[in-house]
Every structure is written in C-alpha cells, then in structure tokens.
C-alpha cells in the first residue's frame, strides 16, 4: 500500500469531519488535499508531524473572497505530498501558528504576515523580515490593503537591548562573508555567539509580484536571476511546471540535453562554492583554481545558450536551439577528462589540508532529527545521512533513465557538507557522460506550442533538485495568460534558517565557516 493510501486511512480514522481528497498527481503534482479549519489545523499538523512529514512550504494565496493559507508536507522516505489549506476572512485574517511544531514556520509565517497581513496567534516574534520602512500596503494582496499604524512599528523592528555581558554585531548586509546582501544580527558574548537572527529583504526583487503582472513567456528570464550560479536549474523548474500545467509534451532529445546542461551548470555552481568556501576560511588559492575550471563550463554553455551566467535556454516544449553535436560533445568530453584530474588535485589541495580540516570538522553539526522541523534539502540534508534527492524521488527530464549514486555524509558537519558537494561534482560528471552516450536524435522542441499560453484552471506544485536543494514552483492558474499566483519554494531559505540553531554558543569564526558551508544565494532567498 502506498503511503498516500495509508495516510488517508489513518487520517479518516482520526479526523471524521475533515475533508481529505485524493488529487490526480500527474496533473497537480501532489497526492492529497486536506481542507482544514482554524479549530483543527493544529491537530492535523500534529498528525503529520507524528508521521515524520517535513514541511515543504507555507504561503498564502489571495482569492479576493477569502485568503487561503497553503501548507505543503512531504516525507523523506517516500514521495507523498500533502496540501493542507486553511481559508481565512480577508477583513480580519487570523490563523494559529505552527511554529512550535515546525521551527521553520517561524520565518514562513513572518513572510506571510508582511506580504498578506495575516496574523498568527501565538507566534513568538511576528515582525517584518523582508520589507522596508516606507511600505504602506501588503504587496501581494490583489486589492490595496493599507498596513495599520500598529504594524508599521514592526517594520525593521530590530531593537537591541544590550545586557551586561553582551553586545550586538551586524554581519552584513555588505559583509564579504555573507556572499551578497544578507544581514545577520549577532548577539555576542566576547568572541562567542549567544544568538543569531537573519534579516532578509535587501535584495527582494518582487519576482512573485512580477509573475502576476507578466505572461508565462515574459516571466521566462526571471528564474535565472533568482539563482544566478545555478540558472539553468531554476529555468528548468519553471519550464517543467508550466509544461505540466498545460500538458505540453517534451521530445526525448530535449530531455537529455536538459539533463546534460543542467548537470554542467550544477558543477559550475559547486565550483563557485568551492572557490568561495575556503576563501571564507582564509584560503584564497582554491578560488583561482576553481574559477579556472568554471570558465571551461561557461564556455561550453555559452556556445549553446548564448549567455555566460543567467541562462534562459529552455522553452516550453523543448529548447531554444539544438546543440552542435560535434563541438558540444567534444568540448564536454574534454572537460570531463580534465575535471577528473582536477578533482584529484583538489583532494590534495583542500580536502587533505590540515588547517582546512581543523576549521570544518565537527563544526556546525546538524542532526537528522532537525530535517523534519526545518525542511532543509540538497547537500545540507544529504550531509546528515538522509539520501533525499528530488532527481531520484521524483525523476524529471532524463534522470529516470540514468542511474546515479546519491552521496551522503555521516554526522552532518561542515566537512560532510563539503564532501557531499565534492562527490556530487564527480557524480554529475558520470551523469553527463551517460547522457551523452545515450543522446537520442530527433526534434529538440515540440511544434505547435501556442505563443500565448492559457493553462486550464487549477493549481500545480512541481519540484526539481537545484544545486542547493528542492526548488519548487506552485502556480495557480485562472485560465488567463498570466499566472494568478506564483510561489517559489527556494532551498536556500530553509537551509539558512538552521543557522540560528547551529550558531548558538560557537565562535564567530566557526559560525562564518558554517554560513559558508550552506552555499546560500541571497537573490534566491529574497526573491
């Protein structure tokens, strides 16, 4: 019996009056849908928590007549996506907090609060996370809803109260170690951290709002600007979701080329991190080597896609253009050969370096038990020993027909996260090699894809494994050519939010090492 069927049975036994329905997974990307009410939400969430479900995402959709809070759950063992919804009155939206059950909800709820004006009863710190002081309305509401005066006080509400032995430091938003404009407020006792609180929104570029103003085609270049080192993977996440929503078939050749280029991009992104992570620890040499290798990938991808960094190569139903079989395959093969040699060198240069080992080993340990509470993904979760990878769990593109290994760590410290990524580079090389070997001939895109897409009414959730983890797109369509609501579930967000937990009581230099090991990308977190 599948987990979905089992969950329905157990759910019906426990909650007699709540609607639970099975959803066509092929069309909508999730298995079950539960309509909860304010009174029984906590009971349902507790029920899922006991069954080892982790929280994928929490967000809100404004349907004008009512606001709908959407909670997505899934398990790490077997794919069973559950959507729990809660309808709220748009005049006075109040919902119970689930942050005492799922820790990551603390931040998701703050996000919902500032963009929709939903209040969460019992939330420990319902202050603004993203927005600036001049904002006077809730941006993602369909109608203009002004922010009440009482709430305006919460904008940038960080008011430090220094105690006798502690002081505050702002790490960022212009600190080089935060790789962008992330700000973390650190409460310090000498060299030790008492607590850390991320403050986001310094690069909030309104992608979700933009999606509601642009057609499906016009939004196509945006995802690449969210995750610039892994642009193709975000591009793929978006394109696949819209294809599923509209029922567009993709030819086999396009699927394989997507897989190959995405894996090349994954290596490029990991190489960028491989340069930046030791640089955070004070070793500047690996940066030069890693960027040298990365240039090779950028050359290969530039030939195919036409750009160096923010690729927009995939189209609905296929690709922008076909690869040049000779030059692309040759260059890729040469790169694989070169990269395998270089990996041996990196092993000697970094992995075996005693200073590096001492800086990262047994620091920033994440336990497996935290995975459910925070919903982190990608190399961060694999470092704790859970072999969770969307490419395997929910195969897309050509990953279903290519066999590959999933590397895992042992204890989930910084060293494990480093080792997992290094191993992933190696595995990506294997996937590319296998993909090239099997590359079928044929058309590279589907004919007859209309210029103006008008998907049927409904919603869909679809996820891919980007460089940093599970990247999900949720689209609500109202049959027009613009999405009614588009939500991005970005992996760096939930990865980063484990930082307050990991940095408690450690030295500031070690906290920097932990922050570097996440491989966060700020435009992706801020969206």
């Amino acid at each position: 019996m599948t987990l979905a069927a089992k969950t329905i049975e157990e759910f019906k036994a426990e909650f007699k009056s709540v609607d639970i329905s099975e959803v066509p997974y092929d069309k909508q990307g999730y298995h079950l849908s539960i309509e909860s009410r304010t009174g029984n939400l906590l009971g349902i969430v507790n029920f899922l928590d006991r069954r080892e479900f982790y929280i994928v995402d929490l967000f809100c959709v404004d349907y004008q007549d009512y606001l709908e809070l959407v909670y997505f759950f899934n398990t790490h063992r077997e794919l069973c996506r559950i959507k729990v919804t809660l309808k709220l009155d748009p005049e006075k939206p109040v919902a119970p907090t689930i942050s005492n059950i799922y820790t990551i909800a603390r931040w998701y709820e703050r996000e919902v609060h500032e963009f929709f004006g939903v209040y969460f009863e019992g939330h420990p710190n319902l202050t603004y996370l993203f927005l600036h002081e001049e904002i006077d309305h809730y941006p993602l509401r369909k109608k203009h809803v002004p922010v009440p005066d009482g709430d305006k006080k919460l904008l940038n509400s960080f008011k430090p109260h220094e105690e006798e032995n502690s002081f505050f430091i702002n790490l960022g938003p212009q600190h080089p170690s935060t790789h962008g404009v992330l700000r973390v407020v650190l409460k310090m006792d000498g060299e030790y951290l008492i607590s850390a609180e991320p403050v986001l929104g310094y690069l909030h570029r309104m992608h979700e709002k933009m999606a509601e103003n642009k057609s499906y085609m016009q939004f196509l270049p945006n995802p690449a600007r969210m995750d610039y080192p892994g642009a193709l993977l975000f591009n793929l996440a978006y394109v696949e979701t819209v294809e599923k929503l509209c029922g567009i078939e993709v030819p086999e050749r396009a699927k394989y080329i997507r897989t190959i280029t995405c894996e090349l991009n994954r290596i490029a992104s990991h190489l960028l991190w491989l340069g930046a992570f030791p640089a955070d620890l004070g070793a500047l040499t690996p940066f030069m080597y890693a960027f040298d290798d990365r240039e090779n990938i950028l050359d290969i991808l530039e030939d195919v896609t036409g750009s160096r960094l923010t690729y927009c190569y995939f189209r609905f139903g296929g690709l922008y253009n076909d690869i040049n079989e000779e030059s692309f395959v040759d260059a890729t093969k040469r790169f694989i050969e070169r990269m395998r040699e270089r990996l041996v060198m990196y092993d000697k240069l970094i992995t075996g370096n005693v200073i590096f080992i001492n800086r990262v080993k047994n620091i920033g340990i994440l336990e497996q038990g935290q995975a459910k509470k925070y919903g982190f993904s990608g190399p961060v979760i694999r470092s704790t020993g859970i072999p969770f990878d969307m490419r395997r769990v929910e195969p897309y593109a050509a990953y279903g027909s290519i066999d590959f290994e999933i590397p895992t760590g042992h204890i989930g410290d910084n060293m494990d996260r480093y080792m997992v990524r290094m191993k992933e580079i190696e595995i990506s090389l294997n996937i590319i090699e296998e993909g090239i070997k099997r590359l079928p001939s044929g058309p590279f895109k589907t004919e007859k894809v209309p210029k103006k897409l008008k998907p049927p009414k409904g919603d869909i959730y679809n996820a891919v494994e980007s460089t940093r983890g599970e990247t999900g797109v949720y689209i609500v369509s109202d049959e027009s050519d613009t999405p009614y609501r588009m939500r991005w579930r970005v992996p760096s967000y939930s990865n980063l939010m484990t930082f307050p937990h990991l940095s408690r009581g450690v030295l500031i230099a070690d906290a920097i090492a932990t922050l570097g090991s996440y491989d966060i990308v700020v435009p992706e977190i801020d969206r």
Partner: protein, 120 residues
C-alpha cells in the same frame, strides 16, 4: 589560472572595509531597504572616490521595473553620483574591465592602450 584578472591593471588589492576603498562597484539591484546602507557606505569612503554602476539593475532598475513595483530604487545614480555605467544583464567580464579602463581614462586623461574602434 582564472582568465579575467584585474591584477594586470594594478587593481588587485581588495579591502573589505569602505574606509580603505576609493572605488565602489554597485554590482546588483539596489532595493529601498538597501538604499540607506549604500549611502552610508559611500559616505564612509574617503575622498577622492568613484562609483561604477555595474549592470542594468544598478543603472536603471533593469528588468525589475514594472508598474506597481514597491521595493526598487530605479538607478543607483538617484542615491550617489555615478562615474561609469557598465551595461549588461549581467555585464560580461570584459565589460567591467573596460569600465575600469574608462574610469582610469577619466581620472588621468590618458588611456593605457587604444580602445575598441567605434564605427557608429
């Protein structure tokens, strides 16, 4: 080794503090939340100082300008004086290097080597 090395033009020294810098490269979107911080950083730099706006976002808001946008400063020149604009989304490395050359030309009046010929 890495291909685009600005050390060739004597611009290698990196300082993590604005108080030791004379050039600020604004390399991304400036949001309303970031604006006051950016101005503070500029004011912390000792004179003489210069600013390069790198990329369409820093120049004018780039692709993120739309009706009803609520979080964007449409061009960093609304906040601080900009000397060089480097267009592109994102600009190519050669573009940034050319920007540095142009800034040098602006400061010293001479150019290191002949620039690309413009035919228009």
């Amino acid at each position: 080794m890495a291909r685009f090395d600005i050390a060739r033009f004597g611009a290698e020294v990196f300082r993590p503090s604005p108080r030791q810098a004379d050039l600020m490269i604004v390399s991304g979107t400036v949001t309303k939340k970031m604006a006051p911080i950016l101005v503070t950083l500029y004011e912390q730099m000792p004179s003489p100082k210069w600013v390069i706006a790198m990329g369409n976002c820093a120049i004018s808001g780039g692709p993120f300008v739309f009706e009803g946008q609520y979080n964007l400063v449409e061009g960093v020149d609304l906040l601080v004086p900009v000397d060089i604009y480097v267009p592109g989304c994102p600009p190519r490395p050669e573009g940034l290097l050319e920007g540095l050359m142009k800034l040098e030309e602006k400061i010293t009046g001479t150019r290191r080597f002949p620039g690309p010929e413009t035919k228009w």
